[in-house]
Subunit: 337 residues, 2 copies
């Protein structure tokens, strides 16, 4: 079985991070004999200005035939790339770990939260219209089908972790939509895990108060967007957070951070979030193929990154170091075995 | 001019806090010759179980004739009390200061943010329905009228503060609804203040990263709910945050925290948020009457609270002290002059 991966290098710091990461990918492929093909495709702001479309047809053709998508950060056109792909290929589970890394200055220690965000519906469906002059309406859609699906994903993660799930909603106000989500949470999770419900405003406060109270958070799309950014910052930095968009047929892996145009081309971008996303991608390949070489490659990459943080010598300026991106990548490269 | 205030003591720790606060209210009334009548009304969980309605008619009759509402925390029926009153009396501006207090342990110092939250529309309108079996839909309504109104409120606050406004939205995804709000922000605020736009996910992360970057935040109802809880926890504790719901005809003042049933009756509730809400109420009376005695009473109460925190001797257990609520109130009482 060969995995075809469509790579969107993206905008801003995206292309240089992908370029720099290639040697790591090659080394992993070689050591673990990974059966993976990478095919670069254009998408994002640069594609938009070149072709008038952020996600041009020739890119979609490649993506269509690929098993996975590895995506760098995209600029202002992100919505037309990432949300479109998530929905087009029904990549319904947005998996966002917020985990502390060694030697990253942070007010919080040992954060280890997994946010499982529903990725296809809610206001992200994009059903919006002007109901009248000056009156805009958007539809928040929450279905039983999508709720069950995402809650079951959260369940499978929780059972492999500390066995606790916090279901985040605002069913005291949105009784029908969030009420549906909350009810299904109760039905599927009670008695199976340490189950807790929390209103989204309280969750936003409790993440600040004591992140150690959380293990897995499962929530709808909009709340998940907000809480995952907050949680990754609490874990140290939004700039370090990877993510996976899992679907039954296709999955996409991407850093949570943006294109950071201000530091593009300076060679100081932090490759961590992109590389951790690659580690998540190999893990997904393992889940699909059940071939342990992908799991080993995933772990090897993750451990090598952690070792570089433990040593703390080759870190980029965003986290207080003075290494160039390529020095950090070289250091990670060395640890891979 | 006499101000009639309908007081909802509320549930859980609400009634004991109001009871304890009465001596402070009396002292302020006496010293400053405030022309204020307080009339207690029932609302909340206790009213619900007594009359089958969280907001019974006899309470509404009193509220209808009053100028202001002073509300303690309400339990599970909060939605039917607070959201109903906000909409019924068009109290459109939810004003939520997140400000550090001396001697409150916190990872962040000198936080001073004002969140101006639109309080009447968005998904809080409660327009929700089952579109089909297992398919729930809620309407997010954003109007030009309400957006203009709240943005102008934010502007008037910013001009009295550090002159900066961060307009929080997610117009990259919700292009019509949040797009409308963002456009009006630009139209009304650019060139008038230091103006900044931020996506709500980034705002949630940036509050954690560096709250000192914010002065006034203006946003729609749902985002405001989430960010104000987060910000007040960053300032020290959600339990200390007051709030105002301002309308042209009526206003309501309430702590942000909940009914805390677990500590009700133990005499250890922290009265700060309720008392600071009273200070905001007197300030509103000043804005309406332009009679400086209300402003002086507002300041006197706020300063007395701050002095008790500066001394740090009579603080309740929630913030690391070992005083009873009544000891803390007595200490505040002493400082009032
Ligand atoms: C770029 C944007 C559309 C996207 C989202 O809101 O989902 C991003 O913030 C994310 O969380 O991946
Ligand atoms: C109790 C609830 C309905 C309310 C809200 O969501 O507005 C509360 O959280 C608040 O922020 O005042």
């Amino acid at each position: 079985m060969t995995f075809n991966v469509a790579v969107i290098p993206g905008d801003g710091i995206g292309p240089e991070i992908y370029e720099g990461s290639k040697k790591i990918l090659s080394k992993l492929k070689e050591i673990y004999k990974l059966d993976v093909n990478f095919i670069e495709v254009e998408a994002g702001d640069s594609a938009l200005s070149k072709y008038g479309e952020a996600l041009p047809k020739h890119s979609l053709n490649v993506i269509e035939k690929s098993d996975m998508i590895l995506k760098g950060p995209v600029g202002e056109s992100a919505m037309d790339v990432v949300v479109k792909l998530r929905q087009m290929y029904d990549m319904y589970a947005n998996i966002r770990p917020a985990k502390s890394l060694p030697n990253v200055q942070s007010k919080y220690k040992n954060v280890d939260i997994l946010i499982v965000r529903e990725n296809t519906e809610d206001l992200y469906k994009g059903f919006e219209f002007m109901a009248s002059d000056g009156v805009a309406v958007g539809l928040k859609v929450i279905t039983e089908f999508a709720s069950k699906r995402i809650i079951n994903v959260a369940l499978s993660y929780a059972l492999k972790r500390r066995g606790k799930i916090t279901c985040v909603h605002k069913a005291n106000v949105m009784r029908v939509t969030d009420g549906l989500f909350a009810r299904i949470c109760r039905e599927l999770l009670k008695d199976k895990v340490i189950f807790e419900e929390m209103y989204v405003d309280a969750a936003a406060a409790n993440l600040v108060k004591d992140p150690s109270k959380f293990d897995v958070i499962v929530t709808t799309n909009v709340y998940g967007d907000i809480l995952s950014d907050e949680a990754s910052q609490i874990a140290g930095s939004l700039g370090l957070a990877p993510s996976a968009n899992i679907g039954d047929k296709k999955s996409m892996f991407e850093p949570v951070h943006g294109a950071a145009f201000d530091i593009a081309g300076k060679g100081i971008a932090n490759p961590t979030a992109f590389l951790l996303s690659i580690s998540m991608m190999f893990n997904r390949m393992y889940e699909i193929s059940m071939d342990s070489k992908y799991l080993l490659a995933s772990k090897s990459l993750e451990n090598s990154i952690i070792k570089v943080y433990e040593k703390g010598e080759k870190l980029t300026p965003d986290i207080g170091g003075n290494a160039k991106m390529i020095e950090m990548i070289d250091e990670i490269y060395k640890f891979i075995s």
